[in-house]
């Protein structure tokens, strides 16, 4: 654990305060422990995108004309992207709003805890749950819906940065939106609505080539569209590029938008994060 030397207010004695990185790891371990102890939450968090994948990929399974793929194959990367967003954006947005409402945050603020360690702990939780979610969806996709794992290293590298940047951007946006609901009770509705809308206009539920352009353009302002598109590039054959709005996977642009959201999301968090409920002033 790293330590910081700080001079005590009264003089002479120097106190060593525990460092944010080490505390963040410890906090992350506790967050993960708490998450997995709530069985119903675990089951529903992981089952949700899997059930949706099963429904959509089974209902729409025809060949997509001229793209060399089936509709089911399209839903696998789409649901992976939505899964990453639900474990980061949705779960953080709701859980932090509840923690704020239940004054867990206020109590932490009253200790000498460095604020960064709280966020690091959340990031560890999101990383573990996001990886698990993605692995489950990939398993279902490869066994049931004919999606092939990429064979070259370059594609796996693309997968890695899309996962990390997408997860980080969505996690930061989740932390930011947690300050919007007035209470823990309203958190779910406040967080789920924008997530649902984004899923419709980013090509998760509806195939990208059937969504009106103006909707796609709005979707393109947010991370989810680029996560979907990037993951299609990783897991679908090159022939499927014809379905894209630009006719290509646009990896460069995806990296740029996701990277920009990481920076913008961080700024948004720093500007808007509140340790207390509005009622508490």
């Amino acid at each position: 654990m790293t330590t910081t030397a700080v001079r005590k207010a009264r003089g002479e004695v120097a106190v060593r305060l525990p460092g944010a990185w080490g505390l963040g790891l410890q906090h992350g371990a506790l967050e993960i422990k708490q998450f997995f102890r709530q069985r119903d939450q675990v089951v529903f968090t992981f089952a949700f995108p899997v059930v949706f994948l099963f429904l959509f990929a089974s209902i729409f399974s025809d060949d997509v004309q001229g793209a060399g793929i089936t509709a089911s194959q399209l839903y696998v990367p789409a649901m992976m992207a939505a899964g990453i967003m639900s474990t980061s954006f949705q779960s953080l947005g709701i859980s932090i709003a509840i923690e704020r409402d239940e004054k867990v945050l206020r109590r932490l603020r009253g200790t000498p805890m460095p604020p960064a360690s709280y966020f690091l702990g959340k990031i560890w939780l999101v990383l573990v749950t996001g990886l698990l979610e993605t692995a489950i969806l990939l398993l279902v996709g490869t066994t049931l819906y004919d999606v092939d794992l990429p064979s070259d290293v370059g594609r796996w590298f693309d997968f890695a940065w899309i996962f990390v940047l997408g997860l980080t951007a969505c996690a930061l946006l989740g932390i930011a939106i947690s300050s919007v609901p007035k209470s823990g009770k309203s958190a779910t509705s406040v967080v789920v609505l924008p997530f649902l809308v984004l899923q419709f206009i980013s090509g998760v539920y509806i195939a990208i080539d059937t969504i009106p352009d103006w909707m796609l353009n709005i979707g393109a302002l947010f991370p989810l569209k680029w996560m979907c598109q990037g993951l299609r590039g990783v897991f679908l054959p090159e022939s499927a590029q014809v379905l894209e709005q630009a006719g290509s996977w646009e990896f460069g642009r995806a990296a740029l938008v996701l990277g920009a959201w990481c920076v913008g999301g961080l700024v948004l968090c720093l500007l808007t994060f509140r340790w207390k409920n509005r009622r508490d002033g």
Binding site: V6, V15, R16, P18, H27, Q34, R106, T111, P112, K276
Partner: protein, 288 residues
């Protein structure tokens, strides 16, 4: 910082806080000496919690000087926070973790924490150490709150209505705990609206009403200063109860003895309790 030869842990002068049109704290002065248990007493809405929250650094103020352990709480550093323990009025802890996991985790935030096992023993939670927090009773949760408040080995402990909702036995146990902490040298500020609690624990206390300090001193001193006179109660021949406030109760009783031949029915002479003094000071006398 010293005043009258005492080193002050908390020094507040002219503190003011307004919420919209409502003045919650209206010019409060407080001086809490190192090592003492100080009681802040007052009815609901008197400004107790607002005052304590300002001392915690958890709420801003509109005017006044505040020094807590030599620092302004509005600019409290991590090092300063590590010296102040807080027990809030309404707490919640992570339901899925055990008592031991939680206490150990909070210990990590502090540069020189107390031993978690020792602290769980101190608050009487050693038997529940392995239990999930969601399985604890209300009183046990409150003791966990105190454990988390003292785990850092604070020089100053701020307790906001710590025993609200306790049954009498739990309250007595809690008092023992506060005395133990005080014996160890912790300075304690405690808000309460239980008179007996203030009387049992506080070395000195301040009564606040409508955002102002209306009386300050040792509990017995307050009673002597503000609790003059006595109340004589008896029952008239027609069965009607009577009560008379007087500075000369003996004379009143002598007169009654002349009127009643023999026993005076229902005779009682009451010196004012601290509660009477408190109700008079806070303008709630009619509640009696």
């Amino acid at each position: 910082m010293t005043t009258h030869g005492y080193e002050l842990a908390v020094d507040v002068r002219g503190l003011r806080k307004q919420y919209g049109d409502v003045t919650a704290v209206d010019g409060i002065d407080l001086g809490i000496r190192r090592g003492e248990v100080f009681g802040l007493l007052g009815p609901n809405g008197a400004g107790k919690s607002t005052t304590v929250e300002i001392l915690q650094g958890n709420r801003g103020r509109d005017a006044g000087e505040v020094s807590v352990l030599g620092s302004d709480p509005a600019h409290g550093t991590r090092a300063w926070r590590s010296r102040v323990g807080i027990v809030w009025q309404d707490e919640s802890a992570p339901a899925e973790l055990t008592v031991r996991e939680t206490v150990r985790h909070f210990a990590r935030y502090y540069p020189r924490p107390r031993d978690p096992e020792e602290v769980m023993g101190l608050v009487g939670l050693q038997e529940q150490a392995g239990s999930r927090i969601k399985a604890l009773s209300g009183g046990q949760r409150r003791r966990l709150d105190v454990a988390l408040g003292v785990i850092g080995g604070p020089e100053l402990l701020l307790l906001d209505e710590p025993t609200t909702g306790f049954d009498p036995a739990a309250r007595r146990q809690f008092w023992q705990l506060i005395r133990k902490l005080s014996d160890e040298g912790t300075t304690i500020l405690l808000t309460t609206h239980y008179l007996e609690e203030a009387e049992a624990l506080a070395d000195r206390l301040a009564v606040i009403a409508q955002g102002q300090v209306v009386a300050e001193g040792e509990p017995t001193g307050l009673r002597e200063r503000y609790g003059t006179g006595a109340t004589v109660e008896w029952t008239e021949q027609d069965g009607a109860p009577r009560a008379e406030r007087t500075d000369t109760p003996t004379r009143t009783v002598a007169e009654l003895m002349r009127r009643f031949d023999g026993e005076i029915p229902g005779l009682q002479v009451r010196r004012p309790t601290l509660e009477d003094v408190y109700l008079r000071l806070t303008g709630q006398e009619d509640a009696r």
